[in-house]
Amino acid sequence: MTQEKVIRLTVLYTDAGCIERVVAVFRKLLIDVNWIWGRRIDSHYEMYVSVKDHQNLKLALLNLSKTVGVESVELLLDAKVKRYVYTNGKFEKVAEESPANESINIGFRQFVVYIPVYTRIAGYRWGEKYGENI
């Protein structure tokens, strides 16, 4: 996962299409998505998206930053993704080299979460930059 990039977005929740709109930006620029985590909080949707590093990534972030409904888009710099597996009522950190959580967990009481740990952000919001440069 050394080429992994994690993006945090805050999106206006009009309907579930707000998630499609975000993902489509990556699809249109041929960027693969590794995982998505999101939740709705009243009228907003908070999303974390992990993508493979790609030559079009900057363009995707720029396009997202001017997509109607997207309030902010932030690239988490130096993001290290920690993997945890929730099994039998408790979380366990999974070693990076472990294949334990790389299978589809059908039939198991197991839930894999990815937690990005980062130091800085590069943010865009309708043409305004904040944090560091992408």
Partner: protein, 574 residues
């Protein structure tokens, strides 16, 4: 009050006077409500013959007027037919608002009759789409739609309304009115402080071969006076993109022409030889700058004015100064700054060189009077000579469009309307209808190709019924000329699936639809036909014969650089 009444009332508040569209099951309640508005003369509903035409007409209206054009369609096939027109508007930054009917909420997602997931279909080809879920939300989303359509880089917005909402009774207390801030949508920032302006001016002052490149943003901003003033002050020639042609009068002495893939050779050469380029409202698309390597190699400096900062950020070239904001306002700052310096420029060598380019390349353009058909350049010059200065021209897409790009003289802002980014055949005629409705006192001419015309010509019947006197000049070469040209030149002459038969009679088609039809076999015929069309004030089709293998030149080989321009017919050898 029902949802349809609330929709109509809000549209009236938004000053909507024209709606292009076709009624059907899912927008019928809205049409029913609008009967009263039509009877009182507050609104006009224009029945198009296909929804694609409705979207293009709204687009033409918007581009001619600078205000949103509105179209409507019923659910399913009706709304789906809008799609090409909406994408066309998006690619060319045109503010269109589409109101689509949808099946009732209880039927959505169940493969109901005439159901299509319009938000899902259009969300990647419009600026924004919203499906109304509550009747009380109609006003706020219509207000938002019009705001989003025009703010920043303009674009199309779709409001999808289930038909049970049109019929639902509105409880006043539930209505969300207003212009409350739209979450997730902001005005772009303005970055044009005195330091940036000073830096830009320094670069312009020190330039030896400055050039101004104007795009559609300059037209949207109505920055003609500022561009011309700045060009005069700097003694800087001007080139344009296809969509930027009407940003400056094309007979202005410092205007060289459209640059790009099918651009004028002298415009491309001037771009390549310049040392500083001031880009005004152009995004430097792959149609204008076909190879960024040309830019990198030349080490020229770039000052870019754009309303959208991300458009500058995404450029794969080094931008020396990015000025973000409305083109007109920023150009005014540059002019004021230059005036305060009071520098007089001596650039006679550069201007002389520009005129040498013009003279040299004109030998390639104005030739080949072989007696077969009319020559596009001469036909366009003839038409220009007959039309008033403020006449609006639309085009389809194909060779005729490229001939217009090279040879048509647009003389006033918003008078050259064409599908640039999407290259949508069939755009010209319905866009002309929209433009004529927007500017009824102007002459509006669709300079079209036969291939393009055939795609949306059914809308000529709308022009007849609605008394919208547009003139279609048909460059009839009985082929899909631009595709044929590429097959002929770059696919070893393996011409296939492009030629039409000789049986189509465009005069009879025009007359059959209730319009006037003229067959102009000579340039004199052309003058007579257009003058008569203007005098009769009726929709007209003027067909002019063009040689089937006539080429659009200059051109480039596929994927080629501006340095590889093909100037004369390569089939004839050197």
């Amino acid at each position: 009050m029902k949802g349809a009444d609330l929709t109509a009332k809000t549209l009236k508040e938004l000053n909507v006077k024209i709606i292009f569209g076709i009624p059907g099951l899912s927008n019928m309640t809205l049409y029913d409500t609008l009967v009263d508005y039509v009877k009182s003369g507050e609104m006009r509903l224009i029945l198009m013959r296909h929804e694609q035409g409705a979207a293009h007409a709204a687009d033409g209206y918007a581009r001619a007027l600078g205000k949103p054009g509105v179209c409507t369609a019923t659910s399913g096939p009706g709304a789906l037919n809008l799609v090409t027109g909406l994408a066309t508007a998006y690619w060319d930054s045109s503010p269109v608002v589409a109101i689509t009917g949808q099946v009732p909420r209880a039927s959505i997602g169940k493969m109901s009759f005439q159901e299509a997931d319009i938000p899902g279909v259009v969300q990647n080809i419009v600026k924004f789409v919203i499906q109304i879920r509550n009747v009380g939300d109609i006003p706020i989303w219509l207000y938002n739609a019009f705001h989003i359509a025009v703010e920043g880089r303009p674009g199309p917005v779709v409001v999808d309304i289930p038909r049970d909402i049109f019929s639902e009774k509105v409880v006043n207390g539930d209505i969300r009115f207003g212009r409350e801030a739209i979450k997730g949508f902001r005005r772009f920032p303005i970055y044009a402080d005195p330091i940036l302006i000073k830096k830009a001016v320094e670069i312009l002052v020190n330039a030896e071969r400055p050039l101004i490149l104007v795009g559609s943003g300059a037209v949207t901003s109505m920055a003609t006076d500022e561009i011309v003033t700045l060009a005069d002050m700097l003694i800087a020639p001007i080139v344009s993109t296809l969509l930027g042609k009407s940003a400056v009068p094309n007979d202005y002495p410092l205007y060289i022409g459209m640059m790009g893939y099918y651009g004028r050779a002298e415009a491309n050469t001037a771009f390549l030889e310049s040392d500083v380029v001031l880009v005004v409202g152009a995004r430097l698309s792959d149609r204008t700058v076909t190879s960024y390597k040309d830019i990198v190699d030349s080490r020229k400096k770039f000052i870019v004015i754009n309303i959208d900062p991300t458009d500058v950020e995404r450029l794969p070239i080094n931008v020396d100064v990015a000025l973000i904001g409305d083109a007109k306002a920023i150009l005014r700052k540059l002019i004021d700054s230059l005036m305060s310096i009071g520098v007089k420029f001596e650039r006679s060598n550069w201007i002389r060189r520009i005129y040498e380019f013009k003279d040299y390349y004109s030998h390639f353009y104005y030739v080949d009077e072989d007696g077969v058909g009319l020559k596009p350049w001469r036909a366009l010059k003839t038409i220009r000579g007959v039309l008033p200065r403020d006449a609006i021209v639309t085009t389809g897409v194909g060779q005729h469009q490229m001939w217009c790009g090279v040879f048509w003289e647009a003389l006033e802002p918003r008078t050259f309307i064409t599908s640039g980014g999407m290259g949508t055949m069939g755009f010209g005629l319905p866009a002309a209808i929209g433009a004529k409705v927007a500017q009824p006192n102007r002459v509006v001419v669709d300079l079209d190709g036969d291939g393009s015309f055939l795609m949306t010509m059914n809308n000529l019947s709308t022009a007849v019924d609605e008394h919208i006197p547009i003139i279609v000049v048909l460059f009839d070469n009985r082929t899909l000329g631009l595709v044929r040209q590429v097959q002929d030149l770059f696919f070893g002459g393996r011409v296939i699936s492009v030629d039409f038969g000789s049986t189509i009679d465009y005069i009879k088609i025009a007359e059959g639809l209730g319009a006037l039809g003229f067959d102009a076999q000579t340039y004199e015929d052309l003058v007579v036909a257009i003058k008569r069309s203007m005098r009769e004030n009726m929709p007209s089709v003027v067909r002019i014969p063009i040689k089937r293998d006539e080429l659009s030149l200059p051109t480039l080989p596929p994927g080629g650089s501006l340095r590889e321009m093909i100037l004369h017919d390569p089939r004839k050898g050197d």
